[in-house]
């Protein structure tokens, strides 16, 4: 018993830096922001309790709805596209071909490029006048749009660009694919299943927990998108078409000094993400298969 108590003490002591750091730098601000979301607060002046005014103002704030719409639009298209692309690449890179390690590296490398460099590179690729994308489209007789200048094309451009960073999800899928027992494929072969049937009936069900993990992470990440559009246009231009929720939240907090309002926005986003995650988990009960479960 004494040893166990000593072990527990040592464990707590080792965990203490994290516990202290978490309490001061995360837990306290999180709980404080609940309070601030019900106040008028500009950081330097004492917060003044305003009840639900921030929340009621948000409901009638058209920029709030615009940024929420932009963000949901992005998430609705990005999550499935990123999932299919990452899973598709992982399946291709799970085959037994020569130079596999090189291919895997090539597809993973874009995820290692710092996001600022990546966005600046894409700004040039999307350039309406000299961009490589429009040049290639021109070769096949298509006149490309001004991707980042036209409100109709700016969001699709960001979705397209963001799929460039699916390398991390791809690696997780690849790790999941390696875990699928070969014996199941052998059995499917005996049953006469072709590659497509094996993918649908063996691979996908067996890596379904991995798919769910990636989908949830992707939902959370896409609803919090900030860096890429912020580098492209701080104001979300053209005509706020790439002004996302986190950007408006940031502006309210640090440009307009409306910390209370920004806190209310943060909590609404938390509730949306929490709700969607719960929904994803609930919806997946039928489709996700755990080993032994």
């Amino acid at each position: 018993m004494k040893t166990r108590a000593a072990e527990a003490r040592a464990g707590y002591i080792f965990a203490m830096p994290w516990i202290i750091g978490f309490s001061i730098f995360l837990a306290y601000p999180i709980f404080a922001s609940i309070y601030f979301s019900f106040t008028e607060y500009s950081v330097l002046k004492p917060a003044v309790w305003t009840g639900g005014e921030n929340y009621s103002t948000l409901v009638s704030d058209e920029v709030f709805w615009k940024t929420l719409w932009n963000t949901l639009f992005f998430a609705v298209f990005f999550v499935p596209v990123a999932t299919v692309v990452a899973l598709g690449l992982a399946l291709l890179l799970n085959t037994k071909v020569r130079f596999l390690a090189i291919y895997r590296t090539i597809f993973f490398v874009p995820s290692l490029v710092p996001v600022v460099s990546l966005v600046i590179l894409w700004i040039w690729l999307f350039n309406g006048e000299y961009g490589l994308i429009n040049t290639i489209l021109g070769w096949v007789g298509v006149e490309g749009p001004n991707w980042l200048g036209d409100p109709k094309w700016s969001k699709p451009a960001i979705i397209f660009m963001s799929t460039w960073g699916v390398g991390n999800a791809m690696i997780i899928y690849l790790a999941g694919l390696q875990e699928v027992p070969q014996s199941l494929y052998d059995a499917a072969d005996i049953d006469g299943a072709n590659a497509w049937k094996k993918t649908i009936n063996v691979t996908i069900p067996l890596i379904s927990p991995v798919i769910m993990f990636n989908v949830i992470m992707s939902i959370i990440g896409s609803l919090q998108i900030f860096t890429q559009p912020y580098i492209m246009s701080e104001t979300g231009s053209p005509a706020r078409s790439i002004y996302f929720y986190s950007m408006y939240l940031f502006d309210n907090a640090f440009k307009f000094h409306k910390m209370g309002y920004a806190s209310a926005m943060a909590w609404i986003m938390f509730i949306i993400i929490f709700g969607l995650t719960l929904l994803a988990i609930k919806a997946s009960n039928k489709y996700v298969h755990y080993e032994g479960g």
Partner: protein, 445 residues
């Protein structure tokens, strides 16, 4: 296991103490024996930093009681606010003119009236608009660092090539439009090859075109006036330009421009013949295309409003003492040094801008590399000078106006509708701000 835990505790304690000591060493303020160290955060980098560094060095060597420790800080307005909130602000911060109202409203800076009175610094020492930018509700909260006024810059060589008199810039908006039509050329595929003038190049004053037509954005009291007929007229001018040359064509053309401070700048690379720019432009031309044949004059006025001739936007970098600064008295000593003719001319010459002081020395003018330095100095002295409204909601208001510009330019929304939307959003924000202000004043009484 016992051995491990016995060893772990002292090891962990040593590690934590070591980390704490190291972090303290890293952030420990500079100590100069027998001197008060004034920490000074400034936004500038590159040659602009070199200019303020020269002033700081001059101050540090001019006496032996105060040492100014200069630090170049990015995102300075946010970081100053956060540091002030945390109780560890710098003693002096170099902010932007339009920050004054917001920072005073948030009680982030202290008034300097007492210091100014003691030092004999007053409004008449300055070009009035620059002093006024530093004032808010009757008190002085900042003093000028470097100022800026704007003018039309034109490319004389492009004028000559287009058959225009290179020494005769457009004087009215009508002339500006006519010159633009002559100077704008198209490629065979229909794309723009060269442009006469573009509102979005560089696009830094897209909130303010109304001023060119005599509009105001705020009545000075309780009304947002962005939808006044003058403002609507200005944005109709923007819309007419977008319709004439085509938004997509203009955007495609603009997407080929490089960054402002680069040889690919639209004006410096001779893609756009006329731009609205500040007095700093000459500096960058000298750096990136010294061969450019250019000139500057007052921006054109509407033909039926000659009273608006000489319209210029005044902007200012400012020095403030954040609330909670450890050495406000010593901080002001440094600010006072910057306000002296010697300090100010050293700084403004270094940054190749004009001086905000009412009088500049002949030496300053004769040695100044910008051939139009007298123009940039004189324009802000006239009644035609304008600067953003001094209200704490200005950052939000400016963002709305910039978006309205986009809605008009890109989505072809009627200017009256777009500006009406801005008013609908900003009037309640102004009402709320005025309500809070009143409550604060009552509480203070």
């Amino acid at each position: 296991m016992k051995v491990t835990s016995n060893f772990a505790l002292p090891a962990l304690a040593a590690l934590v103490l070591g980390a704490l000591y190291m972090s303290e060493v890293v952030v420990r303020p500079k100590v100069i024996e027998d001197r008060v160290v004034v920490t000074y955060w400034e936004k500038w980098t590159s040659i602009e930093y070199d200019a303020i560094k020269a002033v700081v060095d001059e101050f540090n060597s001019s006496q032996d009681e105060i040492y100014v420790d200069l630090l170049s800080v990015s995102g300075i307005h946010n970081k100053t606010l956060m540091a002030t909130a945390a109780g560890v602000p710098p003693d002096v911060a170099g902010l932007f003119g339009p920050n004054v109202a917001q920072y005073v409203h948030d009680r982030a800076v202290i008034p300097l009236d007492g210091f100014c009175e003691e030092a004999g610094i007053e409004r008449d020492d300055y070009i009035h608009i620059y002093w006024d930018i530093c004032e808010f509700e009757g008190k002085v909260y900042a003093l000028p660092a470097t100022p800026a006024s704007t003018a039309l810059h034109w490319n004389r060589a492009m004028f000559a090539r287009a058959g225009l008199d290179p020494d005769r810039p457009p004087r009215t908006i009508k002339e500006l439009d006519a010159y633009t039509a002559v100077l704008t050329t198209f490629r065979e595929d229909g794309g723009i090859d060269e442009s006469g003038f573009m509102h979005k190049e560089p696009g830094w004053w897209n909130w303010g075109w109304g001023y060119v037509f005599g509009g105001e954005l705020w009545d000075g009291e309780s009304k947002i006036t962005c939808d006044s007929p003058e403002n609507v007229r200005a944005f109709e001018w923007v819309l007419a330009h977008a319709e004439k040359y085509g938004t997509t064509k203009l955007q495609n053309f603009q997407s080929g421009f490089g960054k402002f401070a680069s040889p690919q700048n639209a004006f410096m690379s001779e893609k756009v013949a006329m731009v609205l720019q500040g007095g700093w432009m000459g500096n960058f031309i000298e750096q990136f295309n010294p061969e450019l044949d250019w000139a500057a004059a007052a921006f054109p006025y509407p033909e039926d409003r000659p009273d608006l001739a000489g319209r210029t936007f005044a902007d200012l970098d400012i020095l403030v003492i954040p609330r909670g600064a450890k050495h406000p008295k010593e901080a002001f000593e440094f600010i006072k040094f910057v306000q002296s003719q010697e300090g100010m001319e050293l700084l403004c010459m270094g940054q190749k801008k004009h001086s905000p002081l009412a009088e500049s020395s002949e030496k300053f003018y004769s040695e100044h590399p910008n051939p139009y330095i007298r123009l940039f100095t004189e324009m802000p002295k006239s009644d035609s000078v304008v600067s953003p409204p001094k209200i704490a909601i200005w950052p939000e208001y400016a963002a709305e106006l910039v978006n309205a510009f986009d809605e008009i330019f890109v989505n072809k929304v009627e200017p009256k509708v777009a500006l009406g939307t801005v008013k609908r959003r900003m009037q309640p924000a102004l009402d709320r701000y005025l309500r809070q202000k009143k409550l604060r004043e009552e509480a203070e009484r």
